[in-house]
Symmetry: C2
Subunit: 930 residues, 2 copies
């Protein structure tokens, strides 16, 4: 039998930090700390493999594991010179989960295990601290009762609350030993009532039940949801850490705390943390009492503080990353209970990465991988407008628990938050405190406000992880979750009212405060420079307006990958001309209307070309069905009829004629340009006339004209011929404008016949929004009726409109890339669907060898970082098989790990098929920055 249980502490440590896979993060790090000579209470870790085996056996702990547990328990009892269930020398245990990836609060923990009436008596005798003993006992019954026996946490709390009420006190600490003894009695009765059995007094039984409960918690809904949300895949299960208890609640020389080697909120290189004296760990995290800043420990217990400082420094140096640590002081002696790489805000991640490079702790490549690309979103959206915010009333101040700004309607419950979000509102979740049950509500909210809890409270930690803005511990706030009201700063707000949070300052504002967009400066700018050194993909932006284009340039965009010309059709006077065109009965009528639109279009292009100053600009010809330009409401139709001086009936008939059953698959894209060639002609004229004018001023212009919705090469050919003839007419025989004509690949047939289409197309741009709709048969507008259900049931793991479906849509893209390059080796390949801004999808684009991704201006920095991370991740594969092909491409056969996982997930029985993807790096000659 393979070893399944590993001892740690007391110079008998068997594990180490790189055994995370089988010991879990917590277990591996406990072993590692012990190896480093840092004091940890001894204990042992049951491996993640046992958890897998537990499930394989139909939820049964394997016999050989039980035997190993018993052996290790004996070792532990020896090391502690105490015995589990031994009233003379009582040994109490903690039983904690710990998977290879951090899942804070998602799985179960049991503390103070090993107590029964006999042991509690012994404990009193041994410690002389009656209150401590009874407090430990009541905590144990409560936790064990809730986690293992399924008695409602709430019911225990009610007993405790009643006791406090009877006594007229506010805090648990104000209850004395007698009170707690009474509470224990009531707890036992409650357990008996609910479970029809006495609370188990056999301490071995307690231990085994606790271990099973931890294993079971691996697959509770919360944990499954958390893994899905955080893209945690391929783990065996959770390990279980059984450790001798040390007590922070043994009096005023005892205490417990959480600390970070740097500030997890700002990234500043300062020692950061909180502690509570005479408390157990759960009190700090639960946010019931507000803890004190770590600096105060220096005054309280200077020796302990110095020791703690030396440990944190040692640990950070050892792990080369910011550490998040838990410690307990038992009667003046410091124990480290946990260390792990700390969660941090995006701002902190950036700051630490850059600082650590400067401190030579890590290299630039590592720095680039330290910041989750998606997390930059926190830095790229929303700060309160510094001028405008002055005009808004500050309602109150709390802790700046997670930076950024949130403007939204108040929700007091998970359900409300989710519903409001689904209704299209932005939401601020307001609570006294949060617990793991609130995860989905917090995810739905833009920001979280709590009246209780500190900087390391559940709300604060989770909000930072999720990139949600959070103000915690706002004590002035009176939150009535039942009545759904918030009283703060003399104002009483109800559900649905607007408030604004400033998570960076910890302030709460009344109403909706305008927000502004941030810039790339300082450490953020430096990180971007590092990223640019490593990435291979070019990053373009989707921009239809000069404003967007300018913002994107500031964020480092290297061109426009998608300019949707129809957006230019909606503004002001133009829409009138567009409608005139739609209502025209013949070509001549349409041409008259189009002539009115042309000057506007031309001006739009002139501005874009100037801003992009020589960078390529991909312009997509008119795409949406014409009915989108007509009003929908009866009154608007009547008004339009008057306005256009056409009979109402004629207008209605036209609208009726244009109506489509499935507009998504209807008369749009190049189909419009083919039936109404005059539209294509007008747009081509506007583009080339603008290009000519701008070029004449000595500014370089690179239009790339993109024909949408092509499924057959002859469609492209038809439109290309029109564009070419206009180009010849406008630019003359020797054009000074370099232009290209290409197509979107957004219809499955286009991908399937990409070799043929590439005969006419100089570039492909993957329109993954529509490609996803058609490949999956999902109407983006209609999936609300079943996709949430699919996500809930795990039929799909991610919304395919957010994260590219690699096995389906990705397979078509890969096929099109290969076929396109086979016909036209130097074909330019990009993506302009919304996936162009999603890190996982960008990684895929890198792997299949696209030349660029294009995304919204605010996602350009994310894309730059994600592209660099993909390049770093797959650099090894490239070096492995790296041979230059004729067009300078580097090929490497690397199994695409994610795809493998996807198909394994799809294939629950016997995965015979593995989707493999070659990593093809399109062009190692990245254009130099201009």
């Amino acid at each position: 039998m393979k070893k399944q249980v590993y001892f740690f502490g007391s110079n008998m440590t068997e594990g180490k930090k790189d055994m995370k896979d089988i010991l879990g993060g917590k277990g591996a790090n406990l072993a590692e700390m012990a190896n480093l000579g840092i004091p940890v209470p001894p204990g042992f870790t049951i491996s993640t493999e046992s958890c897998a085996e537990y499930y394989d056996l139909g939820k049964k702990i394997p016999e050989h594991v039980i035997a190993e547990i018993e052996d290790n328990l004996v070792r532990l009892e020896k090391a502690m010179n105490a015995g589990l269930g031994n009233a003379e020398k009582p040994l109490l245990l903690s039983v904690r989960s710990g998977a290879a990836a951090s899942m804070p609060g998602m799985m179960d923990t049991i503390l103070n295990l090993g107590l029964n009436d006999a042991v509690v008596a012994g404990l009193i005798k041994k410690t002389g601290n009656e209150r401590f003993a009874w407090d430990s006992y009541r905590r144990f019954i409560q936790m064990f009762g809730d986690v293992v026996l399924g008695v409602e946490h709430h019911d225990f709390e009610q007993i405790l609350g009643n006791r406090k009420n009877t006594k007229g006190v506010k805090f648990d600490t104000e209850l004395d030993a007698k009170d707690l003894n009474a509470v224990v009695d009531e707890y036992k009765k409650l357990v008996k009532k609910v479970t029809k059995k006495d609370f188990p007094t056999d301490v071995k039984e307690q231990l085994m039940l606790a271990i099973e409960a931890v294993f079971s918690s691996w697959n509770n809904d919360r944990a499954i949801h958390y893994r899905r949300l955080n893209d945690i895949k391929g783990l065996k299960g959770t390990a279980v850490n059984i450790q001798a208890m040390v007590f922070g609640n043994m009096g005023e020389t005892s205490g417990t705390g959480v600390c970070f080697s740097r500030d997890p909120s700002t990234g500043e290189n300062v020692f950061y943390g909180e502690f509570l004296m005479n408390a157990q760990g759960e009190d700090v995290v639960a946010g019931i009492r507000t803890p004190k800043p770590i600096s105060e420990l220096k005054k309280t217990m200077p020796k302990v503080y110095d020791e703690l400082v030396s440990y944190y420094k040692k640990l950070e140096q050892h792990y080369k990353d910011m550490q998040d640590m838990e410690f307990t002081i038992q009667e003046g002696k410091l124990y480290m209970l946990q260390t792990r790489n700390g969660k941090r805000t995006a701002q902190a991640a950036v700051q630490m990465a850059i600082d650590m490079v400067k401190e030579k702790l890590i290299d630039e490549k590592t720095a680039v991988t330290r910041v989750p690309a998606d997390s930059l979103d926190q830095l790229l959206h929303k700060q309160l407008d510094p001028i405008a915010k002055k005009k808004h009333k500050v309602l109150g101040k709390g802790l700046p628990a997670s930076p950024g700004a949130a403007v939204g309607r108040i929700a007091f419950s998970n359900d409300s938050a989710i519903k409001m979000k689904e209704a299209g509102d932005t939401v601020v979740l307001v609570r006294n405190d949060t617990s793991p049950e609130d995860l989905m509500g917090m995810n739905a909210a833009q920001g979280i406000l709590t009246s209780k809890g500190g900087m390391t409270s559940h709300a604060a930690v989770v909000a930072r992880g999720m990139g949600r803005c959070c103000v915690s511990g706002c004590g002035e706030a009176k939150v009535d979750e039942k009545e759904k009201t918030l009283e703060l700063g003399g104002v009483k707000l109800k559900e649905g009212d607007y408030i604004t949070l400033d998570g960076t300052a910890g302030l709460v504002y009344e109403g909706q405060v305008p927000t502004i967009n941030p810039e790339l400066s300082g450490s953020f700018g430096e990180l971007m420079k590092f990223a640019d050194k490593f990435r291979v993909l070019n990053i373009r932006t989707n921009a239809d307006t000069p404003k967007d284009a300018m913002q994107a340039i500031k964020f480092g965009a290297e061109g426009i990958g998608l300019c949707r010309t129809e957006h230019m059709f909606f503004e002001g006077e133009r829409i009138k001309a567009v409608r005139e065109m739609i209502l025209a009965n013949d070509v001549d009528g349409r041409k008259v209307a189009l002539a009115k639109i042309k000057p506007f279009q031309k001006q739009d292009f002139i501005e874009l070309f100037k801003i992009m100053d020589g960078k390529p600009v991909t312009i997509r010809l008119l795409d949406p069905p014409l009915h989108e330009f007509l009003p929908k409401e009866e009154k608007d139709i009547i008004e339009l009829a008057k306005d256009m001086k056409v009979p109402l009936i004629a207008l209605k008939q036209k609208a009726e004629k244009l109506h489509e059953v499935n507009p998504m698959l209807g008369h749009r894209g190049c189909r419009l340009g083919i039936t109404f060639p005059e539209i294509t002609e007008m747009q081509a004229e506007a583009i080339f006339e603008a290009a000519k004018e701008v070029a004449a001023k000595g500014i370089k212009v690179k239009p790339e004209i993109m024909i949408p919705l092509v499924g057959k090469v002859l469609e492209l050919k038809n439109q290309k011929d029109i564009v070419l003839s206009v180009a010849k007419r406008v630019l003359g025989d020797k054009p000074k404008v370099e232009y290209m004509i290409g197509t979107m690949i957004e219809i499955p047939r286009a991908a399937l016949t990409a070799d043929i289409i590439a005969q006419e197309a100089e570039f492909f741009s993957f329109g993954t929004n529509d490609l996803t709709q058609m490949t999956l048969g999902f109407s983006r507008d209609d999936v609300g009726s079943f996709v949430p259900d699919y996500l809930r049931r795990g039929i799909i793991e991610k919304d395919p409109f957010q994260v590219l479906d690699r096995n389906g849509v990705g397979q078509l893209i890969k096929m099109a890339v290969e076929k396109g390059r086979a016909t036209r080796p130097n074909i330019k390949l990009g993506i302009c669907g919304e996936h162009g801004g999603d890190p996982s999808s960008i990684e895929f684009c890198h792997m299949v060898g696209l030349n660029y991704v294009s995304c919204s201006p605010f996602r350009v920095p994310i894309a730059r970082l994600a592209a660099a991370q993909a390049a770093i991740k797959y650099a090894h594969g490239c070096e492995l098989a790296g041979t230059k092909t004729t067009n300078g491409a580097t090929n490497a056969a690397t199994t695409l790990a994610n795809d493998k996982n996807d198909s394994k997930k799809e294939d629950k029985s016997s995965a015979k098929t593995e989707v493999k993807t070659k990593v093809v790096v399109a062009s190692s000659k990245k254009p130099k920055k201009k």
Copy 2:
């Protein structure tokens, strides 16, 4: 230079019948007849390659071809002892088109070429027949003027008409030489007026202009449309046949005719044809004079008749197929002008094929290939109900020109016919006579009625080719095409009124006569037996009702490939329960409603299982979105609200909630079964309870349960689990019912991940309707706005919903077949989209190795024949590389000719990529008929 002109006749023949490709059908057959010793007027053929070269040079006859033409003209003059333009010994020429595929009447012909004022005088002198000479001259000017010079045919006819009116006569033959001389003068003036030039008198110029005109006519709209309609592809162009004229209009011992070696309408083995004395060929075909049956020639000219009989027998024996011949008798001497395989009705094709096998003229395999599978449609639809038709008034009688029945609204013009058809009406086109301009109108009509013309008139020939019912030469009918009225049998009908044609009997009925469906008997039945010997594919039917299922069994269906259960939801009481289910607010409410539907569903299945008696029955679970079951109209909604006793507002809200932007891509298929598992459960219960009941009676039952709209294997898994658990519950542990669970492949993603899906699916059925919609991005309901335009512009060649798009959709099918078999070698593969009844698509299904196709009951015989033809066509490839694989499949690599053409068509520049398809024959062990 490659030889481009080939002489024939006078023992100097250079061509032969298998040179069709370069000589065209007419040219090759003229050469062949000459080789067989049958008298043909000598002449020469300019090759189809010259036509291609003509277009390559920008519509210019190549110099080297002109030189060859001149050489051959000299040979011809020698052979005829006459000279072109020689007034002493005048040689007149016919100039005729003739492509490799028959395109009757689509391209141009010029007769009597070589006439001018001097030659006509010489002709009079030589023949002593003044009237004949002037008649030839006026015919020549008229034809040349129309075809070469672009003078309206109508304007010539008016001059001729005026002359007849002035003289008070009815027929051209009543005009004498003087009249015709005057007509010639007027014709010349007309030409001068229109063309601003004199009619060309240089005979060489006449010849070259005529040749160019024929080349040009290859690409006139009519010809292009005809080729598209008849799927004629890959030809180089038309050949031009220049032949010495012989004259049927030289008096009462001269004549001309058309004859067939068997009856082209019924297939009967009798000599069949028509002739006119003192006429030229065009008079017979144009239908202006009604010709006499060929049998009368025996009386008129017995020697010529016997000669003709010997020739037709020789030719049929030689070509081993029914011949369609043209002949001319010049002053008692018989000349054969043309022979070709004759067009025929489907009924005739079947009859001839079977007869010829009995006569040992051809073998069974050849017989199977002799009947175009699609043409069986004529035999499989519509005959007049023999009882019901007695109650309808017969308005008149004409010639039974093309069999079958047509019931429709009268249209008097092409435009009306097309418009009416587009409006959803069935149409009968009523004309005095038809010409090639009427092609599209005839295509739009179900039947054609003409007042003029014989059995070989344009209307009759084309109608038979198209499979349209036709009554021609109905002399009593007064058709006023301008006033749009038809007077017949004492009734005056206008456009839009209903009439009924019986093309088999040549009768015209008033109003709408009910029709009945035919049976497989006699020769048809024998042909089906031959087909079954050769085909590899099984043929199933799409049937939702016992009636359909029974009809399909009669037609030879080997199972049900698609039973759409939702069709069962619409009838009578059921729809109420369905609506109750939709309106229910929770699972329990839905279950109550579903319990009401179940007995109906179960009864449906019991009946189907009994009828199919051991044949497999594929049942698709509920597919359409729920809103399809709710009424659309305001008044129906109000009524339903009353009926269901729900508030109107609630009903409207529900309908609003169910509304979808793109229902095609919305909440339907297995997505319904996943969000409402109780629906799947009810359907599975109905199926298994029915199966159990029928099996208990000793009848074998083979249900195949099909989960629709699967895109991911987990969707299938989810639904399969439900079905399996119901099966276990209903059938017990040892079920006596063999059942399978599989899926439709109708979403591109399903095809792309078919290897993974096959882990759960026991069968795939390709739902090519939806697969086409999604792969091409074409909403079937909306393509009307651009697909007609696409067809017109040649961007697509065929409606992809009728004929499977091999390069796009086909590629996905091929991929899914290969991936599916890779995972599950014995997976059962079929198709249930409407393509399952289309011969070209069936051929594709054979090639990619499906096990069966499923089509509507009335297309089952077509599918049987098409499957046999595909097997015969690709048998060679199979023998070539034929190796048995483990599952009994035969593999052969054969380039898929059509796909090659498609991609060539798509690839106008440089076809580097050829789509190749292996012919994979799924199972050579075809199940024995039960």
